[in-house]
């Protein structure tokens, strides 16, 4: 495996203006194009469920389907092989070529063959191989790899394409798109007519009759499977489906999600040998083609029997997870594995090429979960990536600094918290107001384009005792406040706002001092043992309060306490029970308060002077499903007028430690967010997540100092005097 410098690769993509504008335009247009394609479908989710269910059945029966497919195709005169990996497949294919005296091969898109770098091998064997999809052909000429599974050359512009054409054809090709397309037609037509073998992939293989389906817009799939006298199908086991009618479950979603089309130009179905007519010894004769199929394993069958990872079989390679991914749409697909890009690509690379290759770029998934809202097969992409990270850590362990911080420092609350206090003192020389604007030397990258929040002089935990003296005399409920690290050490004033708002609705608030970090950064890094130790500390501390509810004003903490702890203890009956009890009591702050305000008739739309907009935290919106409630609270906040911004639910780029590790990339996401905030005309942006507050606040501090950022709790607390 080659060791890559991912940070340098990202750096070069960030500074590629062609790539950036192509991706920016596409990702802006994609959601509307997809929605338009689905406009004549009553219930998208029903179609997604049908696809998922069919694929889940298929993976559960993958060996039977492979046997049935083989029997069906061989009964009809084809020959089926199975290859456990790329090397075996190459041997089988070379033998077929030799037996049939093959010299010229045309291919239509098959990602499985790119996965095993088949073309390089065939060329080494002296065979002529031509990709026939226009984008793939251009890239193969240029020696580049596809940056997207459906739009392989999306990172290029017409001038770059024209240069590849000119170099390959040794003639001067102008950068006129229709002319280039016609040139490709002319050049590749010759290849088709001279080919003695066509290699295709398959979008699906039908077990009951041995047919395959091929999806293309250009029509190369049809010609590759028609003209050459030999057809070799190379497909992964994940393409097998039971029946012909199951194909519609793929086809109603794949084109709509992939390219915003209701159907592709050509859906080709080939079943067994079909006739061809060609000249033999001066006479036209009709005979049947030879058909071979090679089923490629290369890690797929192992994945099929993996209780978690088998979900990848639900993928139909539409690439919509890339189209909505904030990272892909900033740096493109080439920073991932060599063929499969984006979130699903990271998973496939991990399963097919190994975890070492995967771990080089696995943290490019920031867990924003936008992909889960569009995936036709309903794959929980971020969760599968997390699972692979966990396995890599279990196998290889953490890096030394991470190990030190997680296992020795964070699990010891007193040490952790005294270090944070020390940081508050240590930052004094660089601090300016609430933010650290410039860091010296090699830390400078982190403060380029944004300020970092300063650690507060006095953490929330030291302010709690005095604050809790204002608890109501006759409380209606008892609430334990879980602050999380950010509200404790970075934004303690917001922590105070939370308590004031809760006291105002009649709650007695308790702040258990024994609470520690929720553990999310450690879980994200894959160190589950350490995470369990933290979880136990928090569960015990919160249980001891005997509260009716546990409130978190950080969606990441809320998600971790409510959902992740249960998963951490799924094999520990005693702690699972305790985690479940906590889960039931756990409420996210803004949705909890909104419900009570609604019950008390406190939600009245107002139109104040100050325009305010709201940024959805990824975890809040897509993990907790909370997005209406904060808006309702803002609409009724006196003094404000609520306005929506474009892309309110797009990630701000913080995403836990990602924002620090990939500072440059994080800033690109932040800039997009700042642009949308400014364009909304709002002078205040509200958030419900302290991590987003840190990121967006830091960007505003440097680049839009007239705009204020506030946590919803702060806005609600401002208005308490009025009631």
């Amino acid at each position: 495996m080659e060791t890559r410098n991912i940070k340098a690769e990202i750096e070069s993509k960030i500074h590629d203006p062609i790539l950036r504008s192509n991706l920016e335009n596409f990702s802006q247009q994609y959601p509307a194009a997809r929605a338009k394609a689905y406009a004549n479908v009553a219930d998208i989710d029903e179609l997604r469920d049908d696809l998922r269910d069919m694929k889940q059945y298929s993976v559960a029966h993958v060996e039977e389907l492979a046997d049935e497919f083989q029997t069906s195709l061989e009964q009809r005169g084809g020959k089926v092989f199975r290859a456990k990996d790329g090397d075996e497949l190459k041997k089988i294919l070379l033998k077929i070529c030799q037996e049939n005296d093959v010299h010229n091969i045309v291919k239509s898109k098959s990602m499985a063959t790119e996965e095993i770098r088949l073309n390089d091998y065939l060329e080494e064997q002296g065979l002529r191989v031509k990709e026939t999809d226009l984008g793939e052909w251009m890239l193969s000429v240029a020696g580049q790899h596809p940056s997207h599974m459906v739009m392989p050359a999306i990172h290029l512009n017409r001038n770059q394409c024209a240069k590849f054409f000119s170099d390959e054809l040794k003639e001067d090709i102008p950068s006129d798109i229709p002319f280039m397309v016609q040139t490709a037609r002319r050049v590749l037509r010759k290849e088709f007519l001279n080919a003695d073998m066509g290699i295709s992939g398959a979008n699906f293989g039908i077990a009951e009759n041995g047919a395959i389906g091929l999806v293309t817009n250009e029509g190369n799939g049809r010609i590759v499977t028609t003209i050459p006298p030999i057809h070799v199908i190379i497909m992964g086991y994940e393409k097998l489906i039971p029946k012909t009618s199951d194909a519609s479950k793929i086809m109603r979603l794949l084109p709509r999600n992939g390219t915003g089309q209701r159907m592709v130009s050509y859906l080709t179905l080939v079943d067994g040998p079909t006739p061809i007519i060609r000249e033999k010894n001066g006479e036209m004769v009709e005979e049947n083609k030879k058909v071979y199929a090679i089923l490629l394993d290369n890690g797929r069958l192992k994945a099929a029997h993996d209780p978690v990872m088998k979900e990848v079989y639900q993928c139909v390679r539409c690439a919509s997870c890339l189209n909505v991914c904030p990272i892909w749409s900033t740096v493109g697909g080439n920073v991932y594995g060599h063929i499969y890009s984006g979130g699903i690509g990271a998973i496939l690379t991990g399963l097919l090429n190994g975890l070492d290759e995967f771990s080089q770029f696995s943290d490019l998934c920031i867990g924003c979960r936008r992909c889960t809202t569009v995936c036709p097969g309903k794959i929980n992409i971020p969760d599968l990536i997390q699972e692979l990270r966990n396995r890599q850590v279990a196998k290889k362990g953490l890096s030394f600094p991470e190990k030190m911080i997680f296992q020795k420092i964070m699990t010891n609350r007193k040490v952790f918290h005294s270090l944070l206090r020390a940081a508050s003192l240590g930052q004094k020389p660089v601090k300016s107001g609430k933010f650290i604007r410039n860091l010296p030397l090699f830390f400078a990258k982190m403060t380029e384009g944004r300020s970092l929040p300063a650690i507060a002089d006095k953490p929330f935990r030291d302010r709690a005792e005095k604050l809790l003296q204002n608890n109501p005399a006759n409380p209606k409920m008892r609430i334990a406040f879980f602050s999380g690290c950010n509200l404790d050490f970075v934004f303690p004033e917001t922590g105070e706002s939370v308590v004031k708002v809760l006291q105002d609705i009649g709650a007695e608030v308790i702040y258990p001092q024994e609470q520690n970090c929720c553990g999310k950064p450690i879980i994200g890094a894959g160190d589950l043992d350490t995470a369990r130790r933290l979880a136990k500390q928090n569960i015990a501390a919160l249980e001891a309060t005997n509260a009716d509810y546990v409130i978190a004003a950080c969606p990441t903490c809320a998600e971790t306490l409510e959902q992740t702890y249960k998963e951490l203890f799924k094999d520990d009956k005693v702690w699972l029970e305790r985690a479940e009890k906590l889960s039931k009591k756990l409420k996210e702050f803004s949705s909890f308060v909104e419900q009570i305000y609604a019950d008390n008739g406190r939600l009245k739309n107002t139109a104040g002077k100050e325009r305010i907009t709201y940024h959805d935290s990824c975890h809040m919106r897509r993990s907790l499903g909370i997005y209406k409630e904060p808006r309702e609270l803002l609409k009724s906040a006196p003094g404000y007028e609520f306005v929506e911004m474009t892309g309110a639910d797009q990630c701000c780029g913080m995403a836990g430690s990602f924002g620090m590790k990939y500072a440059d990339l994080s800033i690109q996401l932040l800039n997009r967010k700042l642009k949308n905030i400014k364009e909304s005309g709002a002078t205040t942006v509200a958030v419900a997540c302290p991590a987003c507050m840190m990121q967006i606040g830091g960007g505003i501090d440097k680049m839009a100092p007239n705009i204020k950022i506030k946590h919803i709790a702060d806005i609600l607390a401002e208005n308490l005097g009025d009631n």
Partner: protein, 199 residues
């Protein structure tokens, strides 16, 4: 002509087709850049085809499946008086690279997508519909099914071996700067003659 099924109509008539699906089919086909002509008889297609031939300066035509539709065969015969029309599969195969216009047939349309289902088991049917720059397709206007779900339910009954599929407009690419360009490897024009003989 070799086909995956010689009784498509029998299966279509099992409650799959309905005139009500036509408006959706028309809308989606037009959106997919199909050039649609609604005609009542096959010979109404003649002047349209003559115009297409003249505009494209076409010389050679490859035409298939006349044997299943005598009225279509009459159209071919008529065109043959003026132009070089190949209807024999061997002649089509021999001349395929230089054919300017291909004429073929479709079994049914799909309302949801504007696609037509083509039975292309015969090699000559694949050649005339894929290699020339223009493909003219004849289809019974009344044979429209609702969605891809129904389309594949039909295929499940008739598709045992061979070559079939769905065509939705002309060949297209957006591989360079996502600019839509028609006619990459397949035809740049798909002209659909929807023949409604019941009116």
């Amino acid at each position: 002509m070799k086909k995956i099924c010689h009784e498509w109509q029998k299966y279509l008539d099992k409650g799959f087709i309905d005139k009500n699906y036509w408006p959706a089919f028309k809308e989606n086909a037009l959106a997919a850049a199909v050039e649609l002509h609604e005609i009542k008889t096959y010979d109404e297609a003649l002047p349209i085809i003559n115009k297409v031939i003249a505009a494209a300066d076409a010389e050679k035509i490859g035409a298939v499946n006349g044997e299943d539709y005598p009225e279509l065969q009459a159209v071919y015969n008529n065109l043959g008086q003026q132009y070089q029309v190949y209807t024999d599969k061997f002649t089509i195969a021999k001349n395929a690279p230089s054919i300017d216009i291909g004429i073929s047939t479709a079994e049914f349309g799909v309302g949801e997508t504007g696609s037509v289902c083509v039975d292309n088991y015969a090699y000559e049917a694949r050649l005339v519909s894929m290699l020339p720059a223009i493909n003219i397709v004849f289809m019974n206007k009344n044979n429209i099914v609702d969605t891809m779900t129904e389309a594949f339910e039909i295929l499940e009954q008739v598709f045992d071996r061979g070559y079939t599929g769905f065509v939705t407009g002309p060949s297209r690419t957006s591989d360079i700067e996502r600019v839509l360009t028609l006619g990459v490897h397949g035809p740049s024009r798909l002209i659909l003659m929807a023949v409604d003989k019941t009116e």
